[in-house]
């Protein structure tokens, strides 16, 4: 037993921790000078996004995966957390710790209000209510609340911010977010052979927060609270007649889920101290739904995988342009080359959404359990080959 987890959960946490710690190495599988180097994802900016959106999706999955309540407005909490975080960096200190804490708390309060109202309904009506609230928040942030949110230009740190704890400083550059002197942008690089590995302060801070958030999610999944949430998804009527009041359970779950989103928002502005209204838009809410479904709804690791896949597509796959395609297929006769490139081109570069959409459809139809189900299927094929079936009665889950 490690950290109060059973063996299976503890090994999952350990594997995730190792992968996250070594991500700068294995996300850069191609040497710097090779033609494939542009598929390397091991640069700080993208790795930070992987883990931060991982946190967002883990939190979303606590609500959607456990209770089945589909929120279409979770970006509102991401945005609220972001604004709160920037304000802390402006008013209090450039140290990111207060910003991260306050972001989480503010999103929690915001979720309490929206949840209290939205949870009066379930099913599609709940989804629509959350969507409506998020769009209202977006509209407010972009217009009426401009003094607080910076309107369409967004909210950012400035040289003459008060920063009460740091003392005023109006000379030099705008200070960068840091943690006890270490700047988020600081990196340490190692070059081995043709490979270049970047170990970044901001990434490792986000990674530690993500691992803690992941650990907490495991505990929630296994706790009485988590079981009651699953019971709500399974049969709300029975739960009511079993002496449990589902309302506070749902509200607590909604608030916890919103706090995860706020935490992600706080980390986002700690990495890059800029918050804009578009972070609250419905497309951002939809993205976290996609991440969770793609990875595996209701599974522990699925949302993190889904977040990684989508962010990889958005940042790497989208960079493939037609020049590059022509270079790859240059070995073919000219006519064939042009033909092949013209077929592939709509699916890459700016067309990456098209490929993502196709993958999403394939997952929904063939793998309703998402990437996690894919992993389980692959694992069970290997297990079958490795041992006789009689030794292994438990490889296939009972349906």
């Amino acid at each position: 037993m490690m950290l109060g987890l059973n063996r299976k959960d503890a090994s999952l946490l350990l594997i995730v921790a190792i992968l996250v710690a070594l991500a700068p190495i294995f996300l850069n599988p191609f040497p710097e000078q090779s033609g494939l180097a542009q598929f390397n994802a091991g640069y700080p900016d993208l790795m930070q996004r992987f883990v931060i959106f991982g946190i967002f999706a883990i939190g979303f999955n606590i609500l959607f995966g456990l209770t089945g309540y589909l929120s279409f407005g979770h970006a509102a909490f991401l945005g609220a957390g972001s604004y709160a975080g920037v304000w802390m960096l402006k008013l209090l200190t450039i140290n990111v710790i207060p910003a991260i804490i306050i972001s989480t708390a503010v999103a929690g309060i915001f979720a309490l209000i929206i949840g209290f109202i939205s949870l009066r309904r379930s099913g599609i009506y709940f989804s629509i209510l959350t969507l409506a609230f998020a769009q209202m928040s977006f509209a407010l942030a972009a217009s009426v609340l401009t003094p607080i949110t910076g309107g369409e230009t967004g909210l950012q740190t400035a040289l003459d911010d008060p920063r009460i704890l740091d003392g005023t400083n109006t000379t030099g550059n705008i200070p960068a977010p840091s943690i006890f002197g270490l700047q988020m942008g600081d990196s340490f690089q190692i070059s081995v052979g043709g490979w270049l590995w970047t170990f970044n302060v901001g990434y490792y801070l986000s990674a530690i927060v993500m691992l803690s958030a992941f650990y907490l999610a495991i505990r929630i999944f296994r706790s009485p609270f988590g079981i009651m949430l699953r019971a709500i998804k399974s049969n709300q009527q029975r739960l009511n007649y079993t002496g449990l009041n589902t309302k506070p359970y749902m509200l607590a779950c909604f608030v916890i889920s919103g706090m995860y989103a706020g935490l992600a928002g706080g980390l986002m502005v700690s990495m890059d101290p800029l918050a804009g209204a578009e972070r609250m838009q419905w497309t951002a809410s939809g993205e976290v739904v996609l991440m969770t479904i793609l990875g595996g709804v209701g599974t522990l690791i699925g949302p993190v995988l889904g977040a990684g896949l989508i962010k990889y597509f958005e940042n790497i796959f989208s960079k493939i342009n037609d020049n590059l395609l022509h270079k790859w297929f240059a070995f073919m006769p000219d006519g064939v080359e042009d033909f092949i490139v013209s077929i592939i081109y709509p699916f890459v570069g700016k067309g990456w959404h098209l490929t993502l959409g196709l993958i999403f459809m394939a997952v929904i139809i063939f793998l309703p359990g998402g990437l996690v189900e894919l992993g389980q299927k692959v694992a069970s094929i290997f297990k079958k080959k490795g041992s006789t079936p009689s030794n292994n009665p438990n490889t296939e889950p009972a349906e």
């Binding site: 296994r222 988590g226 699953r230 019971a231 009511n240 007649y241 002496g243 009041n245 916890i256």
Partner: protein
């Protein structure tokens, strides 16, 4: 005075008077059946007892406390458990988890924010659940997903879940509806055993005369929203009014 006292209860749905002047007293430690033809108001009456419906007139008292205006979960916490016509269980969860949830609800109340401890490591609850599973003859099914069981087993599980809370009153809504004869007989035996061994009052709404006469110590006949007679089973069988209203058309 009975453990459950229903006085002058009336309920109207638009133009339909579903219940009118219903008086009913369920004595402690009895098995009390409420029978009546379709549309007699049996289910409406039951729903008034568990907080799903609020009657327009009259009072419903459980153990001296009014249940009117309380939510189903509050009424359950008072000591009333309900078994539904189609088994209502947590299909996505295992049999063991199904059995533990009601015991948690009894121990920790209607809401407890315990998001850290391991659900499966609460020894007292595990043991209590294990005991009820044994009583229900379901110990070997503890890790099965509840939705994968047969209808009869789901019914047993649901009854077990209700019993695990040690309720003072168990309400059953046509517990054998749609069951094969063998399953029906099993359920009758199970309920008889529960009534004999436990300190419990059972109120049962039933259509099937065979079930009613094998189980009940007391029967209330409901017709057109009003109680017709209330008596012991032997008297009910021969009662002319009952024959006319009910048994005449569906006697076995």
């Amino acid at each position: 005075m009975g453990i459950l006292e229903v006085q002058n209860v009336g309920k109207r749905f638009g133009g339909l008077q579903a219940l009118q002047d219903v008086n009913l007293s369920v004595k402690e430690n009895t098995i009390h059946a409420i029978i009546g033809p379709n549309g007699a108001g049996k289910s409406t009456l039951l729903n008034c007892l568990v907080g799903k419906l609020i009657p327009d007139t009259g009072t419903v008292q459980f153990d001296g406390n009014s249940v009117l205006g309380r939510s189903p979960y509050e009424i359950n916490q008072m000591g009333i458990s309900r078994v539904f016509q189609t088994p209502e269980i947590f299909g996505d969860l295992t049999v063991m988890e199904n059995m533990m949830i009601p015991i948690f609800a009894k121990r920790d109340g209607s809401f407890a924010l315990d998001a850290i401890s391991d659900f499966m490591k609460h020894k007292d609850i595990l043991e209590a659940a294990e005991k009820v599973l044994e009583e229900m003859n379901m110990s070997n099914k503890r890790s099965m997903q509840a939705s994968s069981m047969s209808r009869g087993d789901k019914r047993r599980l649901e009854i077990g879940m209700c019993l695990s809370q040690e309720p003072r009153l168990l309400l059953l809504d046509e517990p054998t509806a749609g069951m094969a004869r063998a399953d029906t007989n099993n359920t009758i035996d199970l309920l008889k055993q529960i009534g004999d061994e436990r300190d419990i009052t059972i109120a049962i709404i039933e259509h099937d005369m065979h079930v009613v006469f094998s189980l009940a110590n007391r029967i209330t006949v409901l017709a057109q929203g009003t109680p017709l007679v209330e008596d012991v089973p032997d008297k009910i069988k021969g009662h002319p009014k009952v024959k006319e209203a009910y048994l005449g058309e569906t006697a076995h």
